[in-house]
Each structure stands twice: as structure tokens, then as C-alpha cells.
């Protein structure tokens, strides 16, 4: 089956319906697998819990960027208008905090948005032009009526035979070895 010169990416298991997929996800999570994922044509409510996914770290990335934008914007304006190039604007103080609010606000928003978009790309390993799963003909069903679990070979608990047996017991209707 598997050719030795190619690395295996993982085992692809197909399930009959969302209910079976959910059950398999729970079992896989319970068995202690970390590097696995579920694929379905539509979002399934409760899947995050079934897979034991932690809340996304994206919020912290956005927070960091937002704070950087806030402090950076404020620092830039304070430095330019009080130290680097103070200009008298209709007699207003050089350190004029209300006047700095719009730029600070906009930079906070801008960098938060950058953090959200690029942080999402980063967390999802994007951009990625090819995924080994596309090597499988059968996986194309995922956009129509296929429900799949993939356990990757990088998982510490991965063992080709035992994992295959595990997925069979979990109710898989079809198993396939995916090559890198």
C-alpha cells in the first residue's frame, strides 16, 4: 500500500453522516490525539467542543497589535510635536492630548485590523497552495457529502496499524492513507 520513498501525511477516514463524525471527533479527542482535524461540507454546531479545541489565540494577537498602535500613535505625536518639531498652532499647548486622539484611535483600529487579518493567516498556516489531502480523489466529496477525520502522522500517538484500527472502531466507512 504505502510506498516507502514517500512520507505519509496521515490517515483519512470517512464517516457516514455528521452525527458519526461528531462521535468520531469525540473519541479521537478522548484517545489523546492532538494532530487531527475534521472536515465537513458545512459547519457542525458543537464540533469545537467535541474536538476539544481551545478558544482561538487570535484575540491576544489583535490586542497586542491594538496596544502597539495605541502607544505607538501616541508616542509618535508626542515626540514630533513636543520634542522634534514643536509648532505653535493657534496658541494651543504642544502636548495637546485631545488633538492626538483621532490619530491614536485610527492607528489602534488599523493595527488591530492588521493583527486580525494577518494573525488569522498565520494561525491557519496560510497562504498554503497545496494540502496533501488534495492527493485523495475521495476527499473531493468534502464539498458535497463527505465527512472526514484525518489523523496526521506527526501525532505522537500515531501508529499506522493501531490508528487504522482505532478509526475503524470509531465507525469509519472508508479508510485511506494519504501521502505527502
Amino acid at each position: 500500500m504505502s510506498t516507502k520513498e514517500k512520507n505519509t501525511f496521515g490517515i483519512l477516514a470517512e464517516f457516514k453522516n455528521p452525527g458519526h463524525l461528531m462521535k468520531a471527533a469525540k473519541l479521537t479527542n478522548k484517545a489523546g490525539f492532538k494532530k487531527f482535524d475534521c472536515y465537513s461540507p458545512f459547519p457542525i454546531h458543537g464540533m469545537d467542543d467535541a474536538m476539544g479545541l481551545k478558544p482561538s489565540k487570535l484575540g491576544y494577537i489583535v490586542m497586542g497589535h491594538g496596544l502597539f498602535g495605541f502607544l505607538g500613535g501616541l508616542a509618535l505625536q508626542i515626540w514630533t510635536s513636543t520634542i522634534a518639531y514643536p509648532i505653535n498652532i493657534s496658541g494651543k499647548p504642544f502636548l495637546n492630548l485631545p488633538a492626538f486622539v483621532p490619530v491614536t484611535f485610527e492607528l489602534t483600529i488599523l493595527l488591530s485590523a492588521f493583527g486580525a487579518v494577518f494573525g488569522m493567516f498565520f494561525l491557519n498556516n496560510m497562504p498554503r497552495h497545496h494540502n496533501p489531502l488534495f492527493n485523495s480523489e475521495r476527499f473531493k466529496k468534502v464539498t458535497d457529502d463527505g465527512f472526514f477525520v484525518v489523523i496526521e502522522s506527526g501525532d505522537p500517538l500515531y501508529n499506522e496499524e493501531r490508528t487504522r484500527k482505532f478509526l475503524e472502531d470509531a465507525g469509519a466507512v472508508h479508510l485511506e492513507l494519504i501521502e505527502e
Partner: protein, 394 residues
């Protein structure tokens, strides 16, 4: 996907005497206030206007939410829509509460003063708009529009409860769409009439949005506390779930930012332009005790709620959201006080017992009217086409 069923009782317990207690408080504080009318007439009218705008703005926020809810065909709010609907249907009584202000116009509004008009050309030029007759006509229009919208939307919704005719849902949208359009204009002009014209020399084109932003922020706080009160009585615990409250909390958070944006925007433009005719309004409101209040508003109405409710977990923790709601409602009153009172007590804050007596009286009346109506109808729109979707939300 599971299909949630309506399992709670939809009728408010008949034995509850909430409304009677509230009416009692309102009457007691009201009688005390009337004593004040004779001892400190001018103070009475300023305190009355402050508390009146406080309850009117809450009702207007409710009316706006109900109309937005209908035209967006939203599902998330179906289970709790009856609460703002009931508040908004009481605008007709708030219209009656406006009448005392008409009798106090000579104390409240300097543009009614002939001597001032003769000496101040700038204000005299505004008399085609700022005159007693037109002021009364305008307010009749505002209250006619709002009372109609509030009453009609409530009436239709309760008819839907009984008949189950889903055509009513379409009718609600047909009322809400033009209703929102007119609402925008009437609220803006009402804010100019009630509050901005207290200082007829001053103007801010943002003032209408400013009052709206305040009203909509406080609306979420009021709805959250009303739901938490019902929960404490064990009502609707399986109908208005945490998912629904979380959505309201998210909007509450969002409109806290919106409020800050508008309130600061108004201040910022006037501060930066620094024209004597417009800056004086803020000059009075940043002096002495009023300056302390201004800082309190900045920190209490924006910085604290923003930082406290920023984490996702905080928005689903009803203890946190509830305490922020209390803070916002209290500071909403303080902000109206801060807008109105510098005209009576120039220079520094001077609290008067009438401020509290009238606030208690009108708020208790407002809540009493709410509970009096709320107990007579289903607490949830049980035949709403989108009720099932709302209940199944998770």
C-alpha cells in the same frame, strides 16, 4: 440541531405587586416634589427637565431598538423584544409628563424672555424657530409620532400573540421603516428643543446624534437589568437564555464605544475650533465640580466599561455586564444633569433635594407603568414567526 421548546410560563405572576409598590413610591416622591414647586420654583423645573429627559431618552432608545429589530428581521432578540416594546408603548404617558415643562418655559428657556431678546440680536434672530408657539407645535408632533409608533407596534405585537396571523409581522416592518426615518429627525430636533435651546446662543450640529448615542447606550443597560430582574424572580429563565443576553451585551459594548466616539467628537471639534460662541458651553461644563463630572463621564461611561467588557468571557458573565449596566444608567442621569444644571447653578455643582425627589418619582412612575403593562400581556411574543429560531439559538 435541536429544537428548543417554549417551556416557561409566559404570564407575569398575578400576585406580584411590583407596579403598586412603584406607583406608591412615585406618588410619595411626587407629592414631596410638588412642595418643592412652591418653595423653589426655578429649581423644580430644572430638576424636572433633567429627570424627564432621563426617562424619555430610555423610552426612545427602546422604540429605536424595536423598529431596528423589525426591519432587520432579526432572530436574536425575539425572546426579549416584549420588554423594550412595553417601555416604548408608554411614550404616550411620557407625553403627558411633558406638560409641566410647558408651564416652566419662562424659567427654563431664556429665549422666552422679551428683555433678553431686545438686548441680544444673535438670539433675537433665532426667534422664527425658538418661539413658544412653534416649540409647543413641534413637541406635539414629536410625541404624536413617537406615541403612535410605540403604541401601534405594541398593539400589533400583542394582536399577533392572540391571532397568530403572521401577516402582522410584515405590517410591523412597514411601520418600522418610515418610523425609523421620522425617528431620526424628531429625536434630533427634540434634543435641540429640550436641551440645546436652554443656552440659545450655543449650537452643535451633532447634538441630536449625541442624545441618540446616550439613549441607545442606556437602553441596553435598562434591558439587561430588566431581564436580570425577571431572572431573579425565576421568570423566563429558559426563554431568555445567556446566548440572547450575550448578544445584547455585545451591542451594549459596541454602543458604549459609539457613545464615546460621538461625545468626544462633539467636544473635540468645538475644542479645536475654539470659537468663543461655541466653546463657552464647554467652558461652563469643565469648571469646578462640573469638570470633575466631565472626567467621571469619560472614565465611567467609556474607559471602565470598555476595559472591563473587552474580554469575550466578560460579555457572557452577567454579574459583570449587570454591574456595568448599573454604572451606565447612573452616569446617564449624571450626564443629563451635567448638560442641564450649569445653566441654573453657574460655576459649581449645587445639589438640591428636588433633583433626587423628582428623579425617584419619575423613574418609579416609568417602571411602574412598565410593570403594570408587562403583567397584562405575554412576556414573550409567543406566535412570532422567528420565535423558534430565536429559542434554538446557541
Amino acid at each position: 440541531m435541536h429544537h428548543a421548546k417554549l417551556i416557561d410560563s409566559l404570564t407575569y405572576p398575578e400576585t406580584a405587586n411590583t407596579h403598586k409598590l412603584l406607583f406608591g413610591i412615585a406618588a410619595f416622591a411626587g407629592i414631596l416634589s410638588i412642595v418643592g414647586l412652591f418653595t423653589d420654583t426655578e429649581q423644580f423645573f430644572f430638576s424636572y427637565l433633567t429627570s424627564f429627559v432621563f426617562i424619555a431618552s430610555i423610552a426612545l432608545g427602546c422604540l429605536f431598538f424595536v423598529m431596528i429589530h423589525y426591519i432587520t428581521r432579526s432572530e436574536y432578540g425575539v425572546t426579549l423584544r416584549r420588554i423594550p416594546e412595553t417601555y416604548a408603548s408608554n411614550i404616550i404617558y411620557i407625553a403627558v409628563l411633558f406638560i409641566p415643562i410647558l408651564f416652566g418655559m419662562q424659567y427654563l428657556y431664556p429665549w422666552t424672555d422679551e428683555v433678553l431678546l431686545a438686548n441680544d440680536q444673535l438670539i433675537a434672530d433665532k426667534t422664527p424657530y425658538l418661539n413658544t408657539t412653534f416649540f409647543i407645535i413641534r413637541n406635539i408632533i414629536y410625541f404624536a409620532v413617537w406615541s403612535f409608533l410605540g403604541y401601534k407596534l405594541f398593539k400589533n405585537a400583542t394582536t399577533l400573540d392572540e391571532t397568530g396571523d403572521w401577516g402582522i409581522d410584515t405590517a410591523q416592518r412597514k411601520i418600522s421603516a418610515p418610523g425609523l426615518f421620522i425617528f431620526g429627525f424628531t429625536v434630533a430636533f427634540a434634543s435641540f428643543d429640550w436641551l440645546m435651546s436652554l443656552d440659545p446662543a450655543w449650537f452643535s450640529t451633532m447634538f441630536g446624534v449625541y442624545l441618540f448615542a446616550m439613549s441607545f447606550q442606556v437602553f441596553f443597560a435598562v434591558v439587561i437589568l430588566t431581564v436580570l430582574y425577571l431572572r431573579s424572580k425565576g421568570l423566563l429563565t429558559n426563554t431568555i437564555k445567556n446566548v440572547h443576553l450575550k448578544d445584547i451585551a455585545l451591542l451594549f459594548f459596541g454602543f458604549t464605544v459609539f457613545y464615546a466616539y460621538i461625545a468626544f467628537g462633539q467636544y473635540f471639534l468645538i475644542y479645536y475650533a475654539n470659537f468663543p460662541k461655541s466653546i463657552l458651553w464647554y467652558y461652563d461644563r469643565l469648571a469646578e465640580g462640573y469638570g470633575t463630572i466631565a472626567w467621571m463621564l469619560l472614565i465611567g461611561k467609556f474607559v471602565i466599561p470598555f476595559l472591563v467588557m473587552l474580554p469575550a468571557a466578560a460579555k457572557s458573565n452577567m454579574k459583570i455586564v449587570g454591574s456595568m449596566a448599573v454604572l451606565i444608567i447612573a452616569l446617564h442621569f449624571v450626564e443629563i444633569y451635567w448638560i442641564v444644571m450649569p445653566l441654573l447653578h453657574k460655576g459649581d455643582v449645587s445639589l438640591h433635594w428636588l433633583d433626587f425627589a423628582i428623579l425617584i418619582s419619575l423613574s418609579a412612575l416609568f417602571l411602574g407603568l412598565f410593570f403594570n403593562k408587562f403583567r397584562k400581556h405575554n412576556m414573550v411574543s409567543n406566535n412570532d414567526p422567528k420565535l423558534q429560531a430565536s429559542l434554538s439559538k446557541h
